[in-house]
């Protein structure tokens, strides 16, 4: 049960978003710009993967499943493949650039100050641009917020992981701004 009366039964972040529309608006607009805007050299799938990985490190069940399903949808891979990346991305066949960006994201998850010049230089040597590094840091930081919002209020999450897989195509099509929270 959630820590406060959210006045609705929606799962995960949708509960507090419906409860507080004034804050939901910028939260959703930030997600749209970070994860879905097409003026970006990182693909939607790559950006969702960063969100998924940070949510996994923060142990947020709802977020890692929502965004893991979206990453799987965009990258055309199944959930076991996403799980393998979460468990040890260094052993998977994602690009070296993505590995370097996930390393930065993992440091951001610990703390902003944990990000080292070495981690940044490594990403640059794998071809990452300043904007890609900026976006990886901000996506990781943003999920340190979303994850805490979801778990800090003790929202509930469907335990059947297929629930998230089934919803992913619709979220991918509608995006984070123009959608009905209750559906």
């Amino acid at each position: 049960m959630a820590h406060i009366d959210l006045q609705n039964d929606l799962p995960g972040i949708r509960g507090p978003m419906l409860y507080s529309p004034a804050t939901a608006k910028p939260l959703n607009e930030l997600a749209e710009m970070l994860l879905r805007d097409d003026d970006n050299s990182l693909s939607r799938g790559e950006r969702e993967l960063i969100g998924t990985y940070v949510s996994y490190l923060n142990d947020c069940f709802f977020c890692q499943n929502v965004h893991g399903a979206l990453a799987g949808y965009y990258l055309q891979c199944d959930i076991p493949a996403i799980d393998a990346i979460k468990k040890d991305y260094t052993a998977t066949d994602i690009s070296e650039k993505m590995k370097a960006l996930l390393a930065i994201a993992a440091l951001v998850q610990q703390s902003g100050k944990a990000v080292t010049k070495d981690a940044i230089d490594n990403a640059k040597s794998q071809g990452a641009t300043d904007k890609e590094i900026h976006d990886a840091v901000l996506i990781a930081a943003a999920f340190c917020m979303y994850n805490r919002y979801v778990d800090g209020l003790a929202t509930w999450a469907p335990q059947d992981r297929q629930f998230y897989v089934d919803r992913a195509p619709r979220r991918a099509a509608e995006g984070y701004v123009e959608y009905d929270l209750t559906k």
Partner: protein, 186 residues
């Protein structure tokens, strides 16, 4: 030196916002809605929560910036702000705000650290559901802002006389893209 090429004349998060105006817009709106609302918690209480979380995250730029904004709203009472950073239990603030700072400190560690006891204690001190909601989201948002600033090694002004100037700008005009588009206060 920042990890990416940003405007060296803009301090802290302002240079990052200018680097990426498309994400700056929702970030500014989020700060405005969370920190400048008069519904429930006061602006001073909201900035104190932000200052405390930024202090726990060891983000020098953020805890000094928001500490000075809190000082503006508290009519110059910098002692209370310093007490909140160092030991809020002994600070000259309400028991309700102490209970909310306890929740904010839990959120800083991780969402799952917040317990039913923490929330019930805040309720017993008079915190409404909205107060608790706003506290959790302010604390979570500063886990974003602090990581954004330090994760990209943003410029941190060492001239402490510049912090009150920027704070007065925010207290007067609020958050938004004007903080990096307009000339910096001097």
């Amino acid at each position: 030196m920042p990890h990416i090429k940003v405007d060296k004349d803009l301090p802290g998060i302002r240079a990052l916002l200018a680097f990426s105006p498309a994400t700056a817009t929702p970030l500014g709106e989020l700060a405005e809605v969370l920190l400048r609302s008069d519904d429930g918690l006061s602006r001073a209480e909201r900035e104190l929560i932000a200052t405390y979380v930024s202090y726990l995250n060891d983000c020098f730029y953020c805890h000094h910036s928001h500490g000075e904004i809190a000082v503006c709203y508290l009519n110059g009472d910098s002692e209370t702000v310093e007490q909140v950073r160092n030991d809020y239990h002994s600070a000259n603030i309400s028991d309700k705000l102490k209970a909310l700072l306890n929740i904010a400190g839990k959120v800083q560690k991780g969402g799952k650290h917040v317990t039913t006891d923490d929330v019930e204690n805040a309720g017993a001190e008079g915190a409404t559901d909205k107060d608790i909601h706003d506290t959790v989201l302010i604390a979570a948002a500063f886990c974003l802002f602090n990581r954004y600033v330090d994760g990209l090694a943003a410029n941190t002004p060492t001239d402490m006389s510049t912090y009150p100037l920027r704070a007065q700008q925010i207290a007067k005009y609020g958050y938004g893209n004007h903080i990096f588009v307009e000339p910096q206060p001097s």
